[in-house]
Symmetry: C2
Subunit: 127 residues, 2 copies
């Protein structure tokens, strides 16, 4: 399985998966999580994310590997931006390629649930 | 709600959603359905799709409108290629923007189920 994990500052620009689409792939599912202009009812300019980076990357790798074990998932790419992320810009991008779409959707939604629980990346502030 | 439906020949190149990401949008979910190199156990070069086009576009609009009614979905873009689609290329691209990701995923998976059942677009041949 192709696995690409990147956590870092700077915009997630035109997120193109660099996952290889080979003959066995039938589905590419992509999720982009965007910062909204409100937080707890108030208007904000953006969010600030912080990560305990080596551990976050290890944890993402562990979760993806575990979720992919029971599915014909052929590749996963996870990009998480840290630092200040303005409203309307992406904080996270996840791409999954699989033989069939159901497997790709299941991995992606499962991953997002686990990400919030288990991966040391936090919103630290608004601006 | 923004709704864009396009059915036509020619590659779905670098599918960029032209949906507007405004301040209320927290999630963009994209699905690309790719032609695989095998069909019923045999190796193929591609698939040929045909559509009863005006009815297919109306039906897609109807399904999306129905599915979006109960969700905070803010935009949907559906592009379906017809004619010959070689292995490794996209036959369909669907993008959904919503306030939250769960709403976007639910609409997208619901739409794909309905598309296969209700929309007059068929695989007519392999090559």
């Amino acid at each position: 399985m192709q696995l690409q994990v990147h956590i870092g500052p700077g915009p997630i620009a035109n997120p193109q998966p660099s996952l290889v689409i080979d003959m066995g792939i039938g589905a590419l599912v992509e999720f982009t999580g965007v910062v909204r202009g409100e937080e707890n009812g108030g208007t904000i300019g953006g969010l600030v994310y912080e990560a305990y980076q080596p551990m976050a990357e290890r944890e993402i790798t562990r979760i993806v590997t575990e979720l992919a074990a029971s599915r014909r998932v052929l590749g996963v790419r996870v990009v998480h931006r840290i630092g200040r992320v303005p409203v309307g810009e992406a904080a996270i991008y996840v791409a999954v390629v699989a033989k069939h779409r159901a497997e790709a959707f299941a991995l992606l939604t499962g991953f997002m649930d686990r990400l919030k629980q288990d991966v040391p990346i936090w919103k630290t502030d608004t601006f």
